[in-house]
């Protein structure tokens, strides 16, 4: 997802007997579905896990501007350009809400950004794939935002209050993101033969990376159990992935596009589609910096940050001067 493989304590979930009284009371609140607020006591592991998860989520929104921004200057109509601008503007806004939520845990936006730029924090693997034709912009809205919505809807029930509230705001905007993406896909899939080819090509390249967004299989996801117990995660990786496949297959059929998985088929008994897992070695390569665009994405973000240093300093200095002048006048 936008937050994948978030490290938790790395130890198993404590039994009630192993917990301190404080931890037991905390766990009882989580189990009762209460929201944890910034001033409440929380285990240090809970705080750290949340910082990693929310920070990664925020970074994903910000880095996620790049693959879509890649097509803003080439959008084929004024309306498409306007819609894409509005969407990317939303994503930057999501980044802002999320950094604010992280700040309630005692970490500043600048600290998180530094960690990202030093390669010590991650962002979603999906944004390390290139956008090569216009239908990719459709595929991102349809598949990437589609997968994100699935996860973010579940996160509206996450146990940390500020995170849950950020998700509620974000989810309101996300359905427009998916709709505009699917709308592009329809135009392409029902368009000229070349457009249909672009649509199929986009689906071919984005299908497995979209499945990877949910993170590795639950079998291999060492930190999930603790995050689930703390109510930070509210849906397992495999649950989300299955739900996504079940939702997306009929949509692809309607478009007349072929999902690049010869083994995809409806399983009457399970009431779900059977499908092929993504190549997890590719996923780990991307997560570890070797995706097709990791180097370019990080270079772009570092450059933006470095080139902007004089602006941020200038604005701060002006604010200081203004405050000093106001004080002198009093």
């Amino acid at each position: 997802m936008y937050a994948q493989m978030v490290k938790s304590t790395g130890k198993g979930v404590k039994t009630p007997e192993e917990m301190t009284p404080e931890e037991r009371a905390f766990q009882a609140r989580i189990d009762a579905g209460e929201k944890i607020e910034p001033k409440d006591w929380m285990p240090e592991g809970y705080r750290q896990t949340l910082i990693r998860q929310i920070g990664q989520h925020a970074h994903s929104e910000v880095v996620g501007q790049l693959p879509e921004g890649n097509w803003i200057t080439r959008a084929p109509t004024l309306e498409r350009k306007a819609i894409l601008l509005a969407k990317v503007q939303d994503e930057a806004g999501h980044g802002l809400y999320l950094y604010c939520a992280a700040e309630t845990l005692g970490v500043s936006r600048d600290e998180l950004i530094d960690l990202l730029h030093e390669g010590r924090m991650k962002y979603s693997s999906i944004f390390n794939y290139p956008t090569l034709n216009w239908a990719d912009i459709g595929a991102i809205g349809w598949l990437v935002d589609g997968a994100a919505i699935m996860n973010q809807v579940a996160l509206q029930r996450t146990s940390y209050g500020p995170y849950a509230r950020a998700m509620i705001r974000i989810c309101k905007e996300e359905s427009f993101h998916q709709r505009q993406g699917y709308d592009i896909m329809m135009k392409m899939a029902f368009g000229t033969p070349e457009q249909k080819e672009m649509a199929q090509d986009a689906l071919n390249r984005f299908w497995y990376p979209a499945l990877m967004m949910f993170g590795p299989s639950d079998r291999d996801s060492v930190h999930s159990a603790q995050s689930m117990a703390w109510g930070i995660k509210t849906m397992t990786n495999d649950e989300g992935r299955q739900r996504f496949v079940d939702q997306t297959v009929p949509q692809a059929e309607y478009l007349g596009l072929t999902i690049p998985d010869p083994d995809l088929k409806w399983n009457e008994e399970r009431g779900h589609y059977d499908f092929t897992d993504p190549d997890w070695s590719e996923f780990f390569a991307v997560i570890n910096g070797n995706g097709p665009c990791n180097a370019d994405r990080m270079a772009a973000r570092r450059k933006a940050w470095q080139d902007g240093a004089w602006v941020r300093e200038g604005l701060l200095e002006h604010a200081r001067k203004k405050a000093a002048r106001r004080q002198a006048a009093e």
């Binding site: 910000v62 200057t73 601008l85 592009i184 000229t192 933006a304 080139d307 004089w310 602006v311 200095e317």
Partner: protein, 250 residues
Amino acid sequence: MSALFEFLLRQGDNALVLGHRVSEWCGHAPVLEEDIALANTALDLIGQTQMWLGLAGEVEGKGRSADDLAFLRDVWDFRNLLLVERPNGDFGHTMMRQFLFDAFNLVHLTELANSTDDRIAAIAEKAGKEAAYHLERSRNTVVALGDGTEESHARMQAALDALWPYVGEIFENDSVSDELAADGIAPEPASLRAAWDARVQEALAEATLRHPEGDFAHRGGKTGVMHTEHLGHLLTQMQWLQRAYPGATW
């Protein structure tokens, strides 16, 4: 080309080309709030483009849509000011260009809201609200960075000096503007200069920036006679899909 059509192209092309330039910042701004604000500005300008070029197509009466005008004309048919096709440069350069344009746009739209052509008055009314907001933001940024650090001050002064030769064109009258002014459709650009000067001088003073001397002006944008080399590259990118796959619906 009728004067009215040409005037509407000038309006639409300014918004289109500047909106495109601003949109180039997407994901690369100095701070997240600026990413959001720049995207928002670009979005407003593209919206204004749709209105101006939409009306231009209507007035021309040859069945061309706003998209046809945006994506299927070549450089010599564009009627935007040279100022707005200048490359972005650094963030300070982008914001200075925005400020110089916003100040004009607001003063101009305020007059156009009283146009004898109701369609123009209606667009100006709507666009004027956005322009007022853009101006407030670009003015405050110019002031803050001008009156910021030594470096930010120097960069803003350099931007102002580099862009100043593109100011004169904004206020030049010609046969197109003479005709529209006679009909009460649009003001003569020269008549807007004093109001523009007042706004600009006030901001530059607060920004502690030196007002450039000299009034040398590059021209050729709004007449289409001589654009800069930059416009062709901008159009190459912007128009690529429409040109490569003619007749497709997107």
